[in-house]
Symmetry: C3
Subunit: 344 residues, 3 copies
Amino acid sequence: MKLRDIASLVNGEVTGPPEADNLEITGVSGISSAREGDITFLSSERYRKYLPACTASCILVRKPIEGLRMAQLMVSNPQLAFAKLLGHFYIEPVKPLGISEHAIVSDKAIIGKDVSIFPFSYISDNVSVGNGTIIYPHVFIGQDTVIGEDCVIHSNVTLREKVKIGSRVIVHPGSVIGSDGFGYVFDEGKHHKIPQVGGVIVEDDVEIGSNVSIDRATTGNTTIGAGTKIDNLVQIAHNVTIGRNSLIIAQVGIAGSTEIGDYVTLGGQVGIVDHVRIESGTMIGAQSGVAGNLIKGIYSGSPVMPHRDWLKAQAVFARLPELHKKIRELEEKIKELERRDQPA
Amino acid sequence: MKLRDIASLVNGEVTGPPEADNLEITGVSGISSAREGDITFLSSERYRKYLPACTASCILVRKPIEGLRMAQLMVSNPQLAFAKLLGHFYIEPVKPLGISEHAIVSDKAIIGKDVSIFPFSYISDNVSVGNGTIIYPHVFIGQDTVIGEDCVIHSNVTLREKVKIGSRVIVHPGSVIGSDGFGYVFDEGKHHKIPQVGGVIVEDDVEIGSNVSIDRATTGNTTIGAGTKIDNLVQIAHNVTIGRNSLIIAQVGIAGSTEIGDYVTLGGQVGIVDHVRIESGTMIGAQSGVAGNLIKGIYSGSPVMPHRDWLKAQAVFARLPELHKKIRELEEKIKELERRDQPA
Amino acid sequence: MKLRDIASLVNGEVTGPPEADNLEITGVSGISSAREGDITFLSSERYRKYLPACTASCILVRKPIEGLRMAQLMVSNPQLAFAKLLGHFYIEPVKPLGISEHAIVSDKAIIGKDVSIFPFSYISDNVSVGNGTIIYPHVFIGQDTVIGEDCVIHSNVTLREKVKIGSRVIVHPGSVIGSDGFGYVFDEGKHHKIPQVGGVIVEDDVEIGSNVSIDRATTGNTTIGAGTKIDNLVQIAHNVTIGRNSLIIAQVGIAGSTEIGDYVTLGGQVGIVDHVRIESGTMIGAQSGVAGNLIKGIYSGSPVMPHRDWLKAQAVFARLPELHKKIRELEEKIKELERRDQPA
């Protein structure tokens, strides 16, 4: 594909050596592994060091970088252009496979057009699968569960009964949606199970990583808002509500009935207690612990505090042994001063 | 169902508007989503705010709440009554399906009465499955594994060889019981695998969440005591022993050979090192880290300290920058005092 | 098996009661559960207390332990000898099962000799499976994925497309290799997916625990070096590189593009941010958080600091309330001194 055609695809402008427009682009690659024929992109400033030795034919940039020999393609959002080109070069259009004879699909299930249902998947009564959806092998779908259009449900996924999945949702392998919430009543020395009879709603354009656990509600629904993206190994407890377009990084745990707003970012391994509310737009640093409601802001620490305060407190933490010593010295000096101060 | 019949089911007493006994109850729901016809329950004090607008027909209470228009049903444990009613209204009795012709069950396996074995499950030689147990699709059960009566083994679960599961045990989707413990000997620059030839014992009435990992013992057994409940994404290493009726919240990790007593509660994301002992009745706060034996108590922090001490230390932590400044001021003042104190 | 034959198997020397060479050894067991006929081993100094009451017939030791009645078998590495004997006594040689008629194996897949492919596994086009490899039930293997010789792929594992697995690799149940990395571009209020078109390389002799998530690279490869061992529920993001013979303990999370050297040990629940580099030989304590590059050393804390410094700072942390009080007392004393110091 000629660079000029790529420029037109991503709405960009070519600069660089003469005849750059005519360059043949054969692949898309990250800066550290790009080779001749590739178009590349600086995903992190830390990678600028790879530029001098990089033999890629072209780089996506917002503004031209001085002193580069390779062609440059100026676009308003280089990462977005990079994503578009990856899709263009490497993602083959889906050819629907239909329903495998080795799958088990209930007569009472409603299956849309152009679906692919792989062998060894099991689809229960009254399930609905929308047009264009792909269901890989070893997927279990429980009764009355509804899946929208153009979804991808990867292998070994479990969607239990009464789960509602929107359209263009991706669920990566090994994830579980609709397992029972962790609810017990303690009585006479034992934990008695509280039946978990609610459901789960996953709205449009949600992506759920691998080995994620999302529990069904006790009553009502656990809800994941449209456009929210969930990384691997995340725990979402019963009756949690997550808003739209939030990012939940790997290994986060959110306890029961907690409400997360829109455009919230939870860093890796963050833990949030039950029954609290995190306002839209909040960002929480990796490994933080949240034990109460949070208004919009940037937070870190376990328990969390405003990120700037945490940075300052953490800086002093590292110097605690030194401060401790200083306090002992001050004590000595004061004792000395007090002694001198005594009337003779 | 008439409220009077519900009262008799949960051993409660109706108060409220005249004719309340005759109210028709058609559902059970949490306070924020309950509607007319529902019986509800205040699961958290934080939800009291929903009471005025709640249109439920009846609420389960320990003592009457003043000023409510809806009927009230007094019981000794409202949450227990709520659990009972959820089961009564929403859980259908199990109709055993028998053994699917699409499952593979060894001729040498012993299968009880009234079992349900779904398609695509695989049951190895010498496995025993007790009466009334349900095995969902895509379950793998290894040789010599024994499962008791009335268990539910959800989809995509792996129970490897020589695992013993008691009765009334529930295992949620994606969990793995009996994977090899993480044991190696370092010799001549390499990690050599220590064969993990022990087993796992899961006693009666245990519930195990989704995507949980419980490793088999090196020799002997990893043991989960009767009535213990384990949440999602928990890691239990080889040779761990957990007592009876403990609660292990999501994403906890317990390292090898550690012993946890009875009625222990481990908060979410707690980590416990290997070869330590946690006494019965101990409670450990979320995200805490345990590096040594613990006598009965309430603990928090990483590493843990008694919870009260941790609260106090944590309160000072937030003020460290301020304390740091104060120490510098004190230093200045003392220098000034020392200067003045010098003989002229 | 006579003790003298065991001695010759592990290259050891028998001491102890007369005729010890002739003892019949019938099993191998840990110190707390060993019985007559067993050979045992002290896996932890904490277990020395079990020695007096232990009825094992023989113990593996580096140097003779005084005052023991049981026979002793001196070897240069008792744990290594223990591992060897466990394998010798309990691990049966594999009998290849061939390809189950209940598995689905593409005509375009290349399957080696002496393989075992269990029922309900699904092997896509252009997959290659090396000699002697075992694939348990419910395994999904995507297109173009290559698996070496003598691997064990446990049940419910997903290996997506274009994954390269070396030889003698073990993957425990429920793990996922090759799921999409967590990559999005934010534009006009939405997160747009960056196609993840790279692969994963898992080199020889790697062991991967249960319910582990290893994401494929955006472009290029996520790489796990030869001999590295990964425990359960670990998260490895796209484009991460792990060197050789490292140990990654349970529930660790490693963010995108981070590079881990050789012989690195990451304690349980450690979190590491994206785009950093951890030098070979580094050890990081459980629950630590890494936010920048690390040169070889031992680290703890979140964020990490050198382990010794962390121990000292943590010791002062516990005493913060006391220090706080002391600072207030010092302030009072200084005020008093200042007052006295005022000219009358």
